[in-house]
Symmetry: D2
Amino acid sequence: MLYFRCDYQEGAHPLILQRLVQTNLEQLDGYGEDRYTRSAKEKILKACGCPSGEVFLLVGGTQTNATVIGTLLRDYEGAVAVDSGHIGVHEAGAIEYTHHKVLTLSGARGKMEASALEAYLEAFYADPNKDHMVWPGLVYISLPTEYGTLYSRAELEALKAVCGRFKLPLYVDGARLGYALASPACDFSLADLKELCDVFYIGGTKVGSLCGEAVVFPAGAPAHFFTSVKQHGALLAKGRLLGLQFDTLFTDGLYLELGRNAMARAQEMIAVLKEKGIPFFLESPTNQQFVILENRYMEQLSAQVAFDIWQPYDATHTVVRFATSWATTPAQIAQLKQFL
Amino acid sequence: MLYFRCDYQEGAHPLILQRLVQTNLEQLDGYGEDRYTRSAKEKILKACGCPSGEVFLLVGGTQTNATVIGTLLRDYEGAVAVDSGHIGVHEAGAIEYTHHKVLTLSGARGKMEASALEAYLEAFYADPNKDHMVWPGLVYISLPTEYGTLYSRAELEALKAVCGRFKLPLYVDGARLGYALASPACDFSLADLKELCDVFYIGGTKVGSLCGEAVVFPAGAPAHFFTSVKQHGALLAKGRLLGLQFDTLFTDGLYLELGRNAMARAQEMIAVLKEKGIPFFLESPTNQQFVILENRYMEQLSAQVAFDIWQPYDATHTVVRFATSWATTPAQIAQLKQFL
Amino acid sequence: MLYFRCDYQEGAHPLILQRLVQTNLEQLDGYGEDRYTRSAKEKILKACGCPSGEVFLLVGGTQTNATVIGTLLRDYEGAVAVDSGHIGVHEAGAIEYTHHKVLTLSGARGKMEASALEAYLEAFYADPNKDHMVWPGLVYISLPTEYGTLYSRAELEALKAVCGRFKLPLYVDGARLGYALASPACDFSLADLKELCDVFYIGGTKVGSLCGEAVVFPAGAPAHFFTSVKQHGALLAKGRLLGLQFDTLFTDGLYLELGRNAMARAQEMIAVLKEKGIPFFLESPTNQQFVILENRYMEQLSAQVAFDIWQPYDATHTVVRFATSWATTPAQIAQLKQFL
Amino acid sequence: MLYFRCDYQEGAHPLILQRLVQTNLEQLDGYGEDRYTRSAKEKILKACGCPSGEVFLLVGGTQTNATVIGTLLRDYEGAVAVDSGHIGVHEAGAIEYTHHKVLTLSGARGKMEASALEAYLEAFYADPNKDHMVWPGLVYISLPTEYGTLYSRAELEALKAVCGRFKLPLYVDGARLGYALASPACDFSLADLKELCDVFYIGGTKVGSLCGEAVVFPAGAPAHFFTSVKQHGALLAKGRLLGLQFDTLFTDGLYLELGRNAMARAQEMIAVLKEKGIPFFLESPTNQQFVILENRYMEQLSAQVAFDIWQPYDATHTVVRFATSWATTPAQIAQLKQFL
């Protein structure tokens, strides 16, 4: 079986495992108080261009979103997101479990438009009943989005400006941030993010580590955020596992290199899909590609290739996702070409 | 100033105050353990045709919705409602505060269509990712809706059938139930509700009492619901205040009589509005009427008549609400006619 | 049956009902935007000596505690209270329902000792594992306590000083505040409270109103507290019901007058109990008296007098509560004397 | 520096790393749908003697407690635990974050006594105010306890009998279960647990894995527990990481073997501590040893040996913890002997 279902179907980049093996019997303090975690945090802050910021290493994405959003919001506030936003759809209500509403805007191919955000906020503040409503407390976007689409620098600046006008922090879910940054379509860098948003996380799970997401607060974390992480069950006793992985990913530019591999393979895959005449559901400049398959063909293909069933397209077609990753090889693309 | 803003702008029906005065110095047990509360519950259950059901008297609507929904749902479940549903819009996130998501469907003039509910539920159960999503745990509708519209018996039966197919309780928010039941367009009775839904509340606040909502569980309440009411801060120490009010409302058919007054006045008001050529935003068979006013006219009128600004219609018009109530008099309608 | 069970067994002071009747058909805006609520708030702030503070009128005590505490605390914080504190024992977990732990100290006859609070806080801040623990976020005391005992001004100042040292707000649950203030043992006034604590509520339910508690923030309320009140289901649509009651209670000193009646009757009752040789469980200077009854005697007495069973004392005795109130008459005390 | 601070200061047992390396590039489905997770679950259920039970693999202990307890309890219920129970002290309020109170009993050297539990439950059910209180909904114990102490089979049976009488599930936090089972003082086996409690978790983090706790429901899990795990942010995308670790731990009896190593070293360490005349705070039959150090001596020692500061003993002494683990070597014990 050939797997293109997602970008978390292999283990970790071999360098990560090598370091886990090398350091295995070192005796280290728990809960992130070890030297590898400290080193990882320094390297991340340096890469992000905000050496006086703060980084926290958490285990998974849903957990990270709930911890960050639950901590940043006051009880009467909610998180503004587009209708396809991961927090509103595929996190099993983890945000609501923190007491907070996901305030939903219509998205444009997974993206939040600054104009739509502004219109919503203006309408909210003009609403005579707003005191009976959930107040917008932060804005959540995914980068890249759940549809693989990407914000331009100008779009992020526009969102940030609207957030600034209404004093709302902008939070970027970077579960696949490495694949955004490595996209040829990306016109900003990791170091730009500190100015384009207020808090973001750098996804490890989907970009080469076994697990782990690094939350970056460029201007410092909320008070006692460590305790909030613990309260959310997101504090790893053996913090070294996260520290070593991120330390490796942020040594010698590995994180971006992994992103570039996924993008190179994605471009090859796009070429193959186009060559085979498979229609695209939308154009994505990152490692996730959404195409439309006729249902019987889809079933046949699924005997040899694993892909992700996304949503019905019409009565006889389905939107499916093919994803490349840090681990995808040219040989796998070649094999896909044969099977299609 | 002439008030048509809402149906809770007066105090209580005079008979209620009279009984509060008469019984004032009787010494009674607290927390609903008094004879008036017991009597009220019996009368309500009799009027609802389910003498073996259970009734709880709570103070207000948002509180009632949060207590009932928070108690009926398991943690992984949400409440399905239409986009205009009170719980999703104007209760300040009280449902999310109980940990639960409001799962939103598009409504049709405030109503949930059985076909839309069924389509959503079928899609949910067919979704390969449903284990990562909030499960539908109950269905919430307002009767009448926030737009004053009304479900027919057939529509309720259709919703109930879909709920039954998917084993979901159907919960009816009856904040204005008296105005639904008294509408000439209503083709079911209070005693029918026990079969048309699984739990409902009979609104007192908007139909003649100072406060109070009576939750009816035709087939019995969830275990320890009393404790849940206390946990939600919804238990009144002087339960007599609620007991006496509902006992009065359910003596000699007063509750329905109050509904009929509001409907008689509403029909007179509709005639006046039509006579004056004011366009209706939608047709409502109950006590709330939504009309479209030109903005400058609206401002002038507001010097003499209080109404509720509902939502912008277009750049130069606004949708506003005029409501009658148990207390509205023919003289007030006549005066409105002069001012329009 | 003669009732001494509690201080909420009658309705409301007659003046309150009289004003409800007089104003009943006035058309007023809802949600506390009426003239009576405005007037009540002004009078309360004047009586409290903090005209620039803010007041919110809520319905009941558990609800008030959950709303205030849930709003003041950040997620990682808990409320410090003594083991007999109402929030930790008899509110059905309403505080935990807001996500927050009640951090429990041993109390001394219902009171929190400044030295015990300080010792706890010093130990907490010295604990190397404090980041894995719930942080103290506010201090909760009841005034009078659940055992009817009373803090002196010096004791309150000492608590306030400890709170100040650790930057914790001190919150006073004044469900029976009127009975504290009217006690001959009380050496502070209502107007002193603004300096003795950071936020407090003035109980109406137990001191002459049908329902209602007035939360006073001497230095202003948290942002959007109105929305928090709504979110907690604590916002009354007919705010006039609360406004009129508190306006009456704070006109011509009625609130304190009601307290004085309860205290005069309490002193008579104490004399009767002592005369009959009934041992006291503890000495209380307010309207609640806790005595020890032999179990068979208790059962006999309960045929004629209603009292509250508090806790077992030993195998053959029980602690019971007799309470006077604003409504207790000398005749009732005389009758109690006969029955004992 | 010699480390005896805790049992999570090394990485993972080398066999675990070896298997992570060997399987690293296999393409596997996420979220626990891989063959290694399936195999691990089968082996665990077999070792537990309940092949028809259900197992879920979560990441960490606090998370596991919150997920299990939050799911098993209804809103009006709390978890009964002793005062030293991890959930009430060192999990940063994670249980309260799920809405539930931790109902605290006095423990005896970390253990809950069946008689104390029974007395509490009898008092609760006899309390006339119990409807205003948090209902006991499950009983939580740690095995071994936070003080390293161990329940005997008879003690567990007695607790289970009390739980059975009051229809409460008994939940065992087995963060260090391997060290309990390997203790010479332990008179029950892993396969006995299915009858001694209702749900338990087998700790991996502290017994040889990088992370991971296996929750065992001998009689089947609550409905949609997978979704609850996701909602709690406890679902690992690369479930293989947990699957491979537990599969390794439950192959050829490795889990118990690791426990036996810790116990052998613990007995050597106890001998050394006794030989040096260091007084024990309490007697522990497992891998955690609590001793009393004079404060100046403690400070000197800490330059060479890392241990955990537990609690003040008196003005000049402190209780500290020395822990062995699966990784402790005889050489480390010998070195400790030199430093003491």
